[in-house]
């Protein structure tokens, strides 16, 4: 069931008209109220009122994380602080934290968007929702909380941590919906098993999981362990927080983007030109209704694609594929953009290999050669050479199908790929070491 069916299933034509109208309003507001946007637009020779179609969006300058950092804390707000009722911030793991502000209207709309997320996952006002996303500056906890209340569900604001207590509450409170990160869901499942609690016997039936990358394989594991339908959700604080996009329970494949509030584009990270639906690139969002801190063509660094075609759930909002990488680690191999994190996603879904790999790049006779080293899991049946060869073939063909370049795959011994600070060095680029001189 959709929370706002008249909006979530509106005809594409009406939707695009609404998007354009809201886009033009947003451009006007940021040009008038945010010096950084005014300077950017002026520099690009862009008159906001000259944007007359959605296709004109490609002439608008991008916004980067660094723009938000340089505006710390309030420089990108488009309203006076008097109209801001709340701020959140990003974690700042990669430098200066960034601050985002919400007006009362923003908070209202955000609650609606998160209520849509729960509804798409199959939850209703009859449900009991345990929110274990962290409450605080992080958008996850309060975002999930307000959405659950907006839906009308009984909402339990547990926040993160104390996993045994989480299990106790799941059990004692008759919880039916769990909202947390997928890795925490797995930990809750394992902890429950250690405590002798079989979550599959409890009323728990839906998981709303997001805020970190996960795989289909992990989804199956969690669904089995917890006895839930696991739904992937997507969001980022710069755009609003959780509630940007969510899977529907009908297909569990692709996340419907709330296109009446956010304009999604997918661009080639090198040329920055938009790519057609279906092609992989960097996801870019423009907010259409945000008042506190609208963002224009914000480059998320997340790699995904639009899944073409209609969805059986009836929503007309287009779907983005589960995020499978970051532009930060992009390589260019024979002119093709390659995202090593895509390899990790492939490996997570193949039994017999660990998601640890190393990409070795060499240049042989002016051609880039790619060799991927992949660790076999310690419990593999090593006696079977045919099984090892079949595994190597499968890994190679699946990697090639997502990267779209030819690669060699070498199976290596368990735990043999060097790890530093718990993370493996993913890419060894030997191309500049030789061959460049000629």
């Amino acid at each position: 069931m959709a929370f706002q069916p008249e909006l979530e299933s509106m005809p594409r034509e009406d939707l695009e008209e609404l998007q354009l109208e809201r886009l033009r309003g947003t451009l006007r507001r940021v040009y008038d109220n945010v010096p950084l946007y005014r300077a950017k637009f002026d520099e690009a020779g862009l008159d906001p009122s000259a944007v007359k179609s959605l296709a004109d969006v490609s002439s608008i300058p991008f916004t980067l994380k660094d723009d938000l950092r340089s505006a710390y804390p309030y420089g990108m707000f488009a309203v006076s602080l008097r109209d801001i009722v709340r701020v959140h911030s990003s974690s700042g793991t990669t430098g200066q934290i960034t601050v985002v502000g919400y007006t009362r209207g923003d908070i209202e709309r955000w609650a609606d968007l998160m209520a849509r997320t729960y509804a798409a996952a199959g939850a209703t006002a009859d449900d009991i929702v345990q929110v274990t996303y962290g409450y605080g500056l992080f958008t996850g906890g309060l975002g999930a909380h307000y959405g659950s209340e907006r839906l009308g569900a009984l909402t339990i604001p547990v926040s993160g941590g104390n996993t045994k207590r989480q299990v106790q509450i799941l059990k004692d409170f008759g919880v039916t919906v769990l909202a947390c990160t997928p890795s925490y869901a797995q930990l809750i499942g394992e902890t429950a098993a250690e405590m002798g609690v079989d979550l599959r016997d409890l009323p728990l039936r839906v998981g709303v999981f997001g805020a970190e990358p996960w795989s289909e394989n992990m989804r199956r594991t969690i669904e089995e362990l917890l006895g839930v339908k696991a739904i992937d959700i997507y969001g980022l604080s710069e755009v609003i927080g959780p509630g940007v996009a969510a899977e529907c329970v009908e297909e569990q494949h692709g996340l419907h983007v709330n296109e009446d509030h956010f304009l999604i584009e997918v661009v080639d990270p090198e040329t920055l030109q938009p790519v057609p639906d279906g092609e992989v690139g960097e996801v870019v969002f423009t907010t259409l209704t945000k008042e506190g801190i609208p963002v224009i063509r914000y480059r998320t660094r997340d790699i995904s694609r639009i899944i073409p075609g209609e969805c059986s759930c009836g929503r007309t909002f287009r779907k983005m594929e589960r995020v499978f990488g970051r532009t930060d680690d992009m390589l260019i191999v024979r002119g093709v953009n390659v995202f090593p994190s895509q390899i990790e996603h492939v490996l997570m879904d193949i039994p017999g290999v660990a998601p640890h790999y190393q990409v070795i790049l060499r240049r042989e006779a002016a051609l880039d050669e790619v060799e991927v080293h992949v660790e076999v899991t310690p419990d593999f049946a090593f006696d079977e050479i045919r099984a090892l060869e079949a595994l190597q073939k499968r890994v190679r063909s699946e990697i090639m199908s997502v990267l779209a370049v030819s690669v060699g795959v070498k199976l290596v011994e368990p735990k043999s790929i060097q790890r530093s600070e718990g993370k493996a060095k993913r890419v060894v680029d030997l191309r500049d070491a030789k061959g460049e001189a000629s």
């Binding site: 090593f382 006696d383 368990p414 735990k415």
Partner: protein, 143 residues
Amino acid sequence: MIEQLSVFLENRPGRMADMARVLGEAGNNMRAFVVADTAEFGVARIIVDRPRAACDALKAAGFGVTVTRVIAVEVPDRPGGLADVLDALGAAGVNVEYAYCFVEPNGEVAVDVFRVEDPEAATSALEAAGISLRQAHDIYERD
């Protein structure tokens, strides 16, 4: 039925020596040792004194290793001896995946090791044909 170690070896200089050293340091003597290789990697098949302890030692040293059940047969020391063994397996519809041979420490008896799809069926077929099977305790300490 006896237990054999199957060890995954990358094509990397010194890797096999590392493996042999781990076995040696764990006080394991090898009864038989054979390496199958492909273009990309090798699998060493080894029969040792104490297979479980050797397996644990190799795992602890970071090797990919599996304990595999194989059958060991005392092959009559005469022309056609091996053919009789294989006939018995063939008649029972048992496929041989690989085989190798070693000599027991007293130097008198040759033992052939067979990896088959169905070791139970192979064992009964060989016993029915009057062919003598070696048990684990004939060859190594059971641990």
